[in-house]
């Protein structure tokens, strides 16, 4: 009964968003979001510490004690600070959940943008600004959620920890998450973390297509392939040649296909995608889930490079270099092979497969340090996913939720490696025109506020707030 009721209410609110009354705390959220976006946090000229301080001030105003607000500043990096806010829970047995978002944004030049990238501009149903989506939408929603709960006198059972970090985009000076794991692991102890990387997609008509629940990321590992040769004068070529040896190895690596891997997450992904996708592609996805050795199905699904990469470890030559003079036979030629390892594959195993693929080509291959730890993906089964999925049914009735593994990387890779299962939450739906990292970044006002509603309820559900 309750479910149906909630669903009906949610459906009604989705159907007539323009007429919907202002949401609870919406004005305060808009103010907070605006302040955050208008605090420049680029690597070159911005100040994450200032943004963290401003968010701490808002939480303090909502009732947080100073002792629960930790504005940290890494040594000698005054602009690269962040915030950890703690909302203690009543039941220590439930442990801690972390809400993670990064404060820093990709560079943005005023002269390249149509509008000032560091002024929040609402226009035709969109918020325009650098960071409007990536990742200040998430940072504002988490901070706003904590402020609302505190101001309302909520008593969470599970401890909630908010981490607003710096250095996710550039990382050239520091990455806060990695720094905290190294220097202050006790500050960020948590049983699971909620992060960017999930979201969802809108159809061309602007209605929801699917929600995405991200669990796990592929692991990046570089290998160096190298050929050496005595060289000599190029007027008398030798039969063997470092560039040709490397080229032969490249051909063989390029022709090698890693075996299909399925995890709990990708199996769920392809099951959901298979049901949604019409025609031979959808059928092939479902066949592949049933039988990962189905080569015909693999051939169809892997035609799409995104799916190809989700189904296996991939390795690709990204950089090559060789020789020392135009008129001398090369003494050395080498390549960087960038691998995105399926979370259960190890660098040793991937290296061995590359070596086998190279065969008798006279080259060496070594993993380039740092050799990354294997990141066993966080489990999908369990209350984290189940609660998110159940709540999604209420907020987004009829919209499928797709578990997914990322082929790229977020700060989750550090937390997962540190033993904190980290998930990219669903909720913020995009039509693909967000242009994160690019010009005129934007987010739909309607879908930002809708996502905020869902994520606020999700935090309450996880924290056990009535």
């Amino acid at each position: 009964m309750r479910h149906i009721l909630v669903a009906a209410v949610a459906a009604a609110s989705l159907a007539i968003p323009v007429l919907a009354a202002e949401r609870p705390g919406e004005a305060a959220f808009r103010t907070l979001y605006k302040e955050l976006v208008e605090t420049n946090t680029t690597h070159s000229t911005g100040d994450c510490t200032l943004a963290a301080t401003r968010m701490a001030a808002r939480l303090k105003a909502a009732g947080f004690a100073d002792s629960d607000l930790n504005v940290f500043v890494p040594e000698n990096l005054p602009l690269d600070g962040g915030l950890i806010a703690t909302f203690a829970g009543s039941d220590p047995k439930l442990g801690t959940m972390m809400l993670l978002a990064h404060l820093d944004v990709v560079e943005a030049k005023r002269e390249d943008w149509t509008r000032d990238p560091f002024t929040l501009i609402e226009e035709d149903g969109w918020f325009y600004a650098r960071g409007a989506a990536d990742d200040k939408s998430q940072a504002a929603i988490w901070t706003d959620a904590l402020a609302r709960l505190k101001a309302a006198g909520a008593k969470p059972k599970r401890t909630i920890k908010l981490l607003l970090s710096c250095g996710e985009e550039s990382g050239a000076r520091i990455n806060n998450v990695r720094w905290l794991i190294d220097k202050h692991p006790d500050w960020i102890k948590a049983d699971f973390a909620l992060n960017e990387g999930g979201g969802g997609s809108l159809k061309p008509d602007g209605t929801p297509l699917a929600l995405v629940f991200q669990a796990g990321e592929k692991v990046s590992q570089n290998f160096k392939v190298e050929a050496i040769n005595p060289g000599g004068h190029s007027s008398v070529p030798r039969p063997d040649n470092a560039i040709y040896a490397l080229s032969t190895a490249m051909n063989r690596i390029g022709g090698y296909e890693f075996p299909i891997r399925m995890s709990e997450i990708t199996r769920a992904s392809f099951t959901a995608l298979g049901k949604m996708t019409p025609g031979p592609m959808g059928d092939a996805m479902l066949k592949l889930v049933a039988d990962p050795t189905d080569k015909a199905a693999d051939a169809i699904v892997s035609k799409d490079p995104r799916f190809h990469s989700l189904l296996r470890t991939t390795c690709v030559a990204t950089q090559i270099e060789g020789g020392h003079a135009i008129n001398a036979l090369p003494q050395r030629a080498f390549a960087n092979i960038n691998c995105r390892m399926f979370p259960t594959d190890t660098p040793a195993d991937v290296g061995a497969q590359l070596k086998a693929a190279i065969g008798d080509a006279p080259v060496s291959i070594v993993a380039v340090p740092p050799v990354n730890p294997v990141n066993a993906p966080p489990p999908l089964a369990g209350q984290v996913y189940e609660k998110a999925a159940a709540l999604a049914k209420q907020h987004f009735p009829g919209v499928p939720i797709i578990p997914s593994m990322s082929t790229g990387a977020t700060d989750a890779r550090f937390l997962i490696a540190a033993g904190i299962p980290t998930y990219g939450v669903p909720g913020l739906l995009s039509d693909g025109s967000t242009n994160a990292h690019g010009l005129n970044e934007r987010i739909s006002v309607k879908w930002l506020l809708t996502g905020r509603d869902y994520l606020f309820d999700l935090v309450k559900a996880y924290a056990g707030v009535k």
Binding site: S235, H308, A317, I320, G323, I326, L329, N336
Partner: protein, 478 residues
């Protein structure tokens, strides 16, 4: 000389049967003493690109010519304002027959860099030790410069009448350098060909071989050299994030093309020079390898013979145009798909093989129409090799039998390059004169402790004096 790559395999030839009259070690002749003074002055005038002066060396040689009786009008010192230290000299000794065409003696004055700290002795002080003259340029190429200048001096001082005019060109910039180099030979051909125009020119470029016991194995006469040309091969791609590889990839496309180019073999070609070279080398070599050389000369399509002869990388290179990948680059970040991948292909083209013909074969070998291959750097002229005429080759061979009895003379094409390429392209057939012998270790040419055998230098001088005189008095070829 930029490279001195001749068939090292000849060192293995049966040399024991060859003999040579040993030149007198002691008792220097008076004319040798004055030659030595000139040679010493030249070596001790630093002409390295970084801190030397070819202009000074030219002035010093001009002073010697003047002292021998050359008139001011017969000596030209030249340089360009942008390269004041890279000057040179052209001198003429008029002939008696107003219709006879000149013989040109060409040598470069500049030397490869040499650091005192690296050498056992000061590289710019001529030291005579254990039968060798030590010094930078002792062999490359101040031996020729000294012999040629000394020849002009002696002929003038003795008032010798020669039928043909004799021209001397001492130039700078042959060895190149770290920066903008002025090549005097190239400049003369382009700007003042009349100063140096000749029936033919004598130059460096040939290497006779001496075995480890000091015995001459063969004399060389260089006629033609392979032509240097670089090409850029490049593959492009839209690229993208490396976490999602596309089916097409610039690195792999380039790699596939490079492997195919590496496997491509240019067709066997012969010139008069290499035909004569392999015919004579066959006799010296004997056995299966010698027989294969003769079969290949008779039929350049004989793939079995080709396989045997081409086992030796030097022969392989003398038989055809060769192209080899020397530099490789591609990609812009370790985590991004490459948008561009390219390589430098360094070709040594058989004389007369046009650039476009070589490019067409590279394109066909690459087998990927999406890949571009274009010539880069200086676009080299591709002159045909100079002919081995009876006048040039026959005279040299006949005189060699007198000066170096029993030592065979091999015509040779070099796989590296000298200034001869500019003259050949400018219509002056240019030959690397015989007379010079290299020890098995290469005598430190371009390297440390460069040296030249004292007896060898004097023998070479005597031979070249007779040869130049013979050429200058020879009748015109029909």
């Amino acid at each position: 000389m930029k490279a001195f790559l001749l068939a090292a395999a000849l060192l293995a030839a049966p040399a024991a049967t060859l003999s040579i009259a040993a030149p007198a070690a002691a008792g220097e002749r008076p004319d040798q003493a004055s030659f030595k003074a000139l040679y010493k002055e030249l070596i001790e005038t630093n002409t390295a690109f970084s801190n030397g002066s070819c202009t000074l060396a030219s002035e010093r040689m001009a002073a010697r010519l003047k002292a021998a009786g050359f008139k001011d009008g017969d000596i030209r010192l030249f340089s360009v304002p942008s390269h004041p230290r890279e000057g040179g000299l052209v001198a003429i000794l008029p002939g008696t027959d107003p219709k006879a065409r000149a013989i040109l003696l060409l040598s470069h004055l500049d030397v490869v860099e040499a650091k005192r700290a690296d050498w056992t002795r000061d590289p710019f002080v001529m030291v005579e030790e254990d039968g060798y003259f030590y010094g930078r340029g002792a062999s490359d190429d101040k031996a020729h410069a000294a012999i040629f200048t000394d020849t002009m001096v002696r002929l003038k001082a003795a008032a010798t009448k020669l039928r043909r005019p004799l021209k001397l060109a001492l130039t700078c910039g042959e060895e190149g350098g770290n920066g903008d180099v002025f090549n005097g030979a190239e400049w003369l051909v382009k700007e003042h060909k009349d100063w140096i125009d000749a029936e033919f020119a004598l130059n460096e470029g040939s290497v006779g071989i001496r075995n480890k016991d000091g015995k001459p194995v063969s004399l060389g006469m260089q006629a033609g050299e392979k032509v240097y040309q670089d090409f850029r091969i490049e593959a492009t791609n839209p690229g993208g994030h490396s976490s999602r590889p596309r089916p097409d990839n610039a690195v792999y496309a380039l790699a596939a093309a490079l492997v195919r180019i590496g496997n491509y073999e240019f067709p066997v070609q012969f010139s008069d020079t290499t035909r004569a070279y392999f015919t004579q080398t066959a006799a010296l070599t004997g056995g299966d390898a010698g027989a294969a050389m003769l079969r290949l000369v008779a039929n350049p399509q004989d793939s079995e013979a080709n396989a045997i002869v081409s086992r030796d990388p030097t022969y392989h290179s003398m038989l055809r145009t060769t192209c080899v990948a020397t530099m490789l680059d591609g990609g812009h970040a370790p985590n991004a798909l490459a948008q561009r991948a390219g390589a430098n292909i360094n070709c040594r083209m058989f004389p007369g093989d046009p650039i476009e013909n070589v490019r067409t074969q590279l394109v066909a070998a690459a087998g990927d129409p999406a890949i571009t291959i274009v010539p880069t750097g200086e676009i080299s002229p591709t002159p045909p090799p100079p002919p081995l005429t009876p006048l040039v080759y026959g005279t040299a061979k006949k005189l060699a039998e007198k000066h170096f009895p029993g030592v065979p003379m091999l015509p040779a094409m070099t796989t590296g390059a000298t200034d001869g390429r500019f003259l050949n392209a400018g219509g002056i057939p240019t030959y690397g004169v015989p007379g010079r012998f290299s020890d098995p270790d290469g005598n430190g040419v371009h390297g440390l402790n460069e040296r030249k055998s004292v007896a060898g230098l004097y023998a070479e001088r005597d031979y070249l004096f007779d040869l130049i005189t013979a050429y200058a008095n020879a009748k015109d070829a029909k």
